[in-house]
Structures are given as structure tokens and as C-alpha cells.
Symmetry: C2
Amino acid sequence: MAVQTVESSTSNPTVDLGPAAALSCRECGHRVPLGPVFACEECFGPLEIAYDFSAYGAEELRKRIEAGPANIWRYAPLLPVPADVAGKPNLNPGWTKLVKADNLARELGVETGKLFVKDDSGNPTHSFKDRVVAQALEAARAFGFTTLSCSSTGNLAGAVGAAAARAGFRSCVFIPHDLEQGKVVMAAVYGGELVGIEGNYDDVNRFCSELIGDPAGEGWGFVNVNLRPYYAEGSKTLAYEICEQLGWRLPDQIVVPIASGSQLTKIDKGLQELIELGLVEDKPYKIFGAQAEGCSPVSTAFKAGNDVVRPQKPNTIAKSLAIGNPADGPYVLDVARRTGGAVEDVTDEQVVDAIKLLARTEGIFAETAGGVTVGVTRKLIENGVLDPSLTTVVLNTGDGLKTLDAVAGTGLTATIRPSLESFREAGLV
Amino acid sequence: MAVQTVESSTSNPTVDLGPAAALSCRECGHRVPLGPVFACEECFGPLEIAYDFSAYGAEELRKRIEAGPANIWRYAPLLPVPADVAGKPNLNPGWTKLVKADNLARELGVETGKLFVKDDSGNPTHSFKDRVVAQALEAARAFGFTTLSCSSTGNLAGAVGAAAARAGFRSCVFIPHDLEQGKVVMAAVYGGELVGIEGNYDDVNRFCSELIGDPAGEGWGFVNVNLRPYYAEGSKTLAYEICEQLGWRLPDQIVVPIASGSQLTKIDKGLQELIELGLVEDKPYKIFGAQAEGCSPVSTAFKAGNDVVRPQKPNTIAKSLAIGNPADGPYVLDVARRTGGAVEDVTDEQVVDAIKLLARTEGIFAETAGGVTVGVTRKLIENGVLDPSLTTVVLNTGDGLKTLDAVAGTGLTATIRPSLESFREAGLV
């Protein structure tokens, strides 16, 4: 992978990204100015945002947030975005529903009033990706990029296409050339360039890294490559919203899906920030990671007690989580162990059962990734790992309409003639 | 159709549905107590809700609304629901985004800052039907029903299935037996009864009316039949939200899709209520109705200057609007003429173009019904009927993910090998 360091970048120390102060290496702590770079020049570790949160005291900050818009920009003082971000054209994702799931709680044996589903299918393109793309877009604006790009196999392509359209950016999204037609349509409808690459997702990724180092890629912001440090911060907003929606309280347990692992580690980062800023009372919480058995490198490492995550070849219906070599795998293991959580996996059959369970109990139609988290929650309770008497939040990060195939077996209860006789014969009364 | 009058109903004058005081005939004004009835016993005209709004003054009402939840229940004092509705299990739809659509405005020649899209794809099951079903559900609770039912060909089936699941009702939804598999899955996933009727949509409707009059239908609330007066009021919330999101101002022009016509007439009712209650300043506004050419009975009548709407056999891709004999057609004509608006239609090709236009300008992927309203807006501006210098709100009532077939022709811009050479050859730089 072509690693771009700060010297070769267009970094500008006067760039205004609100409280974001610098980029800091997660491995060695080396700091560089804010710029479109993602790997440390010293040790090649991942860069992440370092903040200066000294602008507001806790009380003032809480008031500002509560008076803010009903989207992620209520948390602008805690994100790498300029203070006037809410006035710029973007999709304004977030502030999705935290659903008190008493029906599901009863089915899972959880105490009434203690189980919640954070339902990110309410975002503009119906997945949590709108949160992270919105951050990357502001970084792209700050760095003077004019094209928004990414490699994707699904949700991200649509989120980038939609955000770019709204913000007046050109978009150019790279996908494997043999993706299902439905997913191609969902990404293509926003009118940007949609380029099929002859190869698999790894080939697409490798090509994007090449393009970043080439003059042809000048002015291009790849949301999940050279803008990744900014992009990843979007997942913190899930932690902020959950706590605010619980009345500025930390949950006791959170169940988070694992693809690259970035979302889980950033949710932990977000919770830690709220504690440090005095917005919530400090207390223990546990973070649980959820994978599908057919792509469970982190779960496998967790159970084996390993610190290293061995790559797997994905084979699961939970395609939005099917990253066989998750970049943040080791950090996920660290969070799960440090907080007293766990990482667990479920079979594709259990994923489908869990999608149907969530739909028939709470009226929420989840993507396969939501089936993974609900399925893992059930398994963790059955195994005595997750405590059913504590406040638990389960994430649904996507929309069932995008993975209809997973529940294609669902159908008519009965077919009758349009007559009361036929109705009675079918035993429906 | 079996008409159920108040004598034969389970009506209870002590039922608590907030400010709803009685049912009143839209034709003759005859009033009856609140109950699961929909047709006047005197003249067979449609019954609608009559309110007593005297509980609050304008200032207090506005404050209560603004302090309310970020969903339709902020308007509980103006809806046929009990005051504590927000605490009951339902899907809490509404408070969807009003998107300032400057990119679309530029394409349509509308003044910057004057064009807005009310995007109801953000609702729980991604269509405006969640608003109306939520009202019907409260009426069903009030009348002691235990089964929620409807006839449907799409959006409504999912909305009823999901709401019933969440609220702990049994659901039994009737659809034509030969519906597309995708739509069947979307409705079936919530786990209620889904019954295919051997026949067309008219046969389904006729069967539902029979069932209401039969002992087999006892305890059943058909959201769009015996609960229709309550159900229909949900569309008022679109008017409330638009005005509040504009800063408690009436828009100058609204473009609304027409299926049965109920939505358009209830939006007018909602605007009138806000004026009467002193929540917005009185001023003229125009309501425009939008249809697809392949099912344009109201548009045809409007253009011909008729008061009577002649039924048509629908043939359009905008299936969620394909009601050939719209019950509220004459009332729509009245609203359009009274407010100085119009009713217009567009071809299926224009619908598809408009879906793509909205997606590439604002990042909003609309259902075919949204293509109809955007397409009609464009046509009305081109024809000089809609004033591009005034504040205009266009409704998108559904989600593009549910009508992917309409834009199935959209696809890859290019297919390349994973190399910079191949990228350059494709002319994408």
C-alpha cells in the first residue's frame, strides 16, 4: 500500500476543523499537522485525530448540544468539523431512534425497560455510513478536494454518492465489476462516476491506494483511505447519541458489529470522551463485538486468547461485515478485554432468525448486520456472558431493504379466494 | 360496500382520543360519537374528525409543541390521540427532514433558498404511511381492537405489519396473491398474517368490506376502512411539520402526490387549523396535485374543468399512486381550485428522469411517487403555473429502495482493469 506521509501531503496547519488539533499515531504517539494522511511517517501505525476540547466547560457544552440540530452536528464541538458545519450542504445524518425494545427484551429474557436498539436505518441512505462519510466530506472541503471517492461493496458507495451529490462534489466510486445489479443501481442513481474493477474487493482497494499516489488522483478524497482518520470519527456520534438519549448516562453493555473494527473502537473513544468532559458520570461499561461465523477473525482470536487476528476468507450472508482482515482487529480485542466485554459470532441461520425476531417484536427491519448483533446478543445472554438485568444497547447499523435476499424465504401465510368461506377454510379466524 | 353506521358500531362516547370530539360528515355535517365508522348514516358521505381545540392558547400550544418529542406526537394536542400517546409502544414516525434544495432549485430555475423537499423516506418503514397507520393504531387501541388489518399493494402492508408488531397487536394484511416477491418479503418479515387474495386490488378491497360486516371480522381494525377517519388525519402532520420547520410560516406553494387524494386534502386541513389556532400568520397558499399520466383521473378532471372524477384503469410505474377511482378526487379539485393551485401529470419517462434529477442534485433517492411530484414541479414551472420566486415545498412520500425497478437501467459508468493505465484509457481523469 502506498503510504502517504505528512511531508508529501497538502496538509495545512491553519485548516479549520474545529477542535481537531493534529493527527496522532495510535502506536507511537507521533503527532503531525492535520492533513489527508492516514499512516504514521515514523512507524506506519494508523493516525487518528487528537483534539483540544478546552473551549467549553461541561455545563455549557451540554447546553450547546441540547440546543443543537436533530442530527450529528449537535456534537460539532466534539468532531473534526468547523463550527459552522450545520449550515453547509450535507445529508445531516444521525439523531436516529434509540428504541426501548420491551418486546424483544421479553423474548430474550432481559429485564423490561433495560434493552434498547439504536436503529441507524433511519439515516439518509439508511446505514450508519452516512455518519462517517459526513465527517470525511468536511475534511475533503477543508483540504480543497473536489472529488469524493471510495472503494465499496455496498452501503458506502451509496452514502458517498449521495453526500457528494448534495455537497456539489464530483464522486467516483470503485466497486468490483460483478456486484449484484440492485446494489449497482442503489449506488449509480446519485449520478456520480461508478467504476467497476475487474477483480475482487482486494483488487479494488489496491487500485485506490495506487491512485492516491498518482497525479491522476490529485484533488481526490478517498473517504476510507486518505481521509480515514476523519471518516472514522463519525462513529463516535453513535456513542454520544446513545448516552444523551439515555439521559446523559452510560449504558452498561453495548453490542456492536465488527467489520474493520473501527466502529467499535470509536464508540469506546466517544464514551471515554464523554466521561473525561464530565458529560456523563464515570462507571464501568462493557463493549461486546459481533461477527458472523463465516467471517469471524476477531471472534476467533478473542476466544483463543490471541492478540493477533489471523485473516479469514469471508463466506457469510452478512456482506457488510465481511472483512476477512480487519484493520482494527487488535484494537477491538483490547477494548473488549479492557471493558470486560467479549466477541462472539453466530451462524447465517441465526442471523436470519434474529432479523425476523427483531422485525416481529419491534417492527424494525434490519440489515444482515443487525441480525448479527441481535443474534449475538441472544447467544451472549444464553451463555451467561451478557447480564440481562443491566441496561443494554444493541446496534442496528443498516436496512433490511438492502439485504432482502437474506429473508427471501418469507412469504404469504395463506392464499384464499375473495370470499368469507375461503377465509374461514384457511383457519385465519 | 357494507356501510357500517354508528348504531351498529362499538362506538363509545367516553373514549379518550384527545381533542377529537366527534365524527362529522363532510357532506351533510351530521355528527356521531367517535367510533369505528367511516360513512354517514344520513347521506353515506365520508366521516371525518371534528375537534375541540379550546384547551390551549396559541402561545402555550406552540411551546408545548416545540418541547415535544422529535416525532409526530409533538402535535398530539392536534390529533385524535390520547395525551399520553408518546409513551405507548408505536413506531414514532415523523419529524422527517425538510431539505433546502438549492441544487435542485438551480436546475429548475427556482430562486435560491426558496425550494424545499419534505423527505418522508426517513420514516420507520420509509414511507409517509407510518404517519397514518400510527393514528389508526391509537384508534384501534381506543376501540379495543386486537387485530390490525388493511388491504394493500405495497407501502401500507409494511407500515401496518411493523406498527402492529411493535404495539403487540396481531396483524392480518390482505394483498393480491400475485404481488412481486420483493414486496411480499417486505410485508411478511414483520411476522403477521399476510394473506394473498386470488383477484386484483378491487377484489381485495371488496373482501375486506365483507369481513368488517361479518362476525369473523370482530375485533379487527382495518386502518384504511373502518378506521379511515382517524388514519387520514395522520397526513395533517405533514402540514404541521412543514410550517414549523419553516419557522412557523406557511409555504407559498406545496406540491403533493395524489393517490386517493386524502393526503392532499388533509394537508389543506392541517394548514387551515394552524391559521385558525394562530400558530401561523394567515396568508394565501397554493396546493398543487401531482399524478402520473398513466393514472391521472384527477388531473384529467381538473384540466377539463369537471367537478366529477371519471375512473381510469391505471397503467404507470408509480404504483403507490395507482388508484384509478380516487375517493377524495372531488375534494382535491376543490382544494386546488380554491387555493389557486392546479393538478398536473407527467409521463413514466419524466418520473424516472425526475427520480434521477433529485438523486443527483440533493442525494435523495425517491420512490416513483417522489419522481411524480418533482417531475410535476418541473412541468408546472416550465408552463408558468408555479411561481419560481416563491417558497415551494415538494413532497417525497417514499423510498427509492422500494421501487428499484424504475431506475434499473442505471449502471456502471465504466469497467476497467485494476491499473492506472486502464483508468486513464477510460477517460475518467
